[in-house]
Symmetry: C2
Subunit: 283 residues, 2 copies
Amino acid sequence: MPIQYNEFYNQRTGLTIGLNKLLFSVQSDYQLVEVFETDTWGNLMTIDGMVMLSEKDEFVYHEMLSHVALFTHPNPERVLIIGGGDGGTAREVLKHPSVKQVDMVEIDKTVVDASKLHFPDVGDFSNPKLKVLYEDGIAFVKNVETPYNVIIIDGSDPVGPAEGLFEKDFYQFCLHALTEDGVLTAQTESPWVESYYPSMKKVFYALEDLFPISKMYLSFIPLYPAGMWSMACASKKINPLSSEVSAKIKQSDRITSHLKYYNADVHSGSFALPNFVQKIIQR
Amino acid sequence: MPIQYNEFYNQRTGLTIGLNKLLFSVQSDYQLVEVFETDTWGNLMTIDGMVMLSEKDEFVYHEMLSHVALFTHPNPERVLIIGGGDGGTAREVLKHPSVKQVDMVEIDKTVVDASKLHFPDVGDFSNPKLKVLYEDGIAFVKNVETPYNVIIIDGSDPVGPAEGLFEKDFYQFCLHALTEDGVLTAQTESPWVESYYPSMKKVFYALEDLFPISKMYLSFIPLYPAGMWSMACASKKINPLSSEVSAKIKQSDRITSHLKYYNADVHSGSFALPNFVQKIIQR
């Protein structure tokens, strides 16, 4: 039997990945963080047995979670990331020249340690604009004094320490922690596992109740359950599908030409929801 | 050990599906056709060990392969399907009231037999507009006398009997078998397996050389490798992204409101290609 990673998200349906060896395994105060060397996906990080990222496919998740928010805001200077311990989201945020400060609030230092050791191209931790705080994200957002232009919720799955990131109370705090033209994005799991963990519905309803503009969008992520991943975008003022946003993306070729996934067409196209996905978030 | 279906598309990366029992297993003249009862996806058909469809997710593939072509053509009456033995593509095509005749050319009767027995909701084989021919699709297209408005290439993977459906010669025959406003769609595998089987590139280059308009589009298919599937759309006259096509879809609520995946936004959004996918088909 070859060594295998198996993640079953739907009874016995799941993903199988061939592993070469275990590189890192630490049970932190919060969760089990592991890194494996795989045969074809580079290094792979799992938390409590669930895939977080691989070196080969991490670009999709990190580009889509960050650039949709950063391009929607006209001039993002102050950005807050909740979670995001591997550093990939911060790396993408820091590609925007307008950004002056990125605060990343990660509850579990073990994730950052694992990333620094085994995902050297994912994090950009030495960037002087980035401040990493090892704190509880929910408590942090509750106490924000100087609001942010953009907040990105880059938590793990809604079991364990990230559970609170799917609750309405948390988004209420986010609303107050954002400037009056503020934009928020959040990862909200797969439409195909919604019947097991109703994450999309929960987050979308909360955002719809709180923000003037709230939309869901989709990305193709090969190592996440079903390969179809949803994210939410909420905004106080600017519609992510407005012509201003589209023009801003098209003028930012210096950023987008180096990306592997995100571009102006993908930005708008990702908000096109199949009928069965629309049905999930319909009240 | 539970009974499992395993499909490895990338060394040891793949999909694992829990199986209850084997329902059908016939080695035909062309391939091994099997049907399993699964724990959560309904019945599942594999050909030579590769997933063709499950009852739960077949709607994505069949809607996206057929409606993109059928809505791009202004008035499709005569439609040719190459392959498509399970009947799902024909079922979607027959939802368009303008369609008068659907010829489905399937090389392997075993696939149709398996579908009739174990996928009763997929095929609409008793529809008088549908004619099923058990012939070689390539030879059939070569000898078409009355051209078709739409041709849909619904073949299996580019190993075995469907190999010829990825060759330029075949698309040359298709060009001649289409009316002067003809539209073609074809399944072209996953961008994530392109380095193993360069199917997208091969079909796209052939279509780009032959047709005035040729584009690739993407669908989320959970039980296909990586969950990201590409399809090609070639057209002699009408751009699938024109405002006329968009208006036609929006006016066809009687069809689209009953679909589970396809709608006007999904039609156009699916043509938005991530940078790494654009790179695959760039000359």
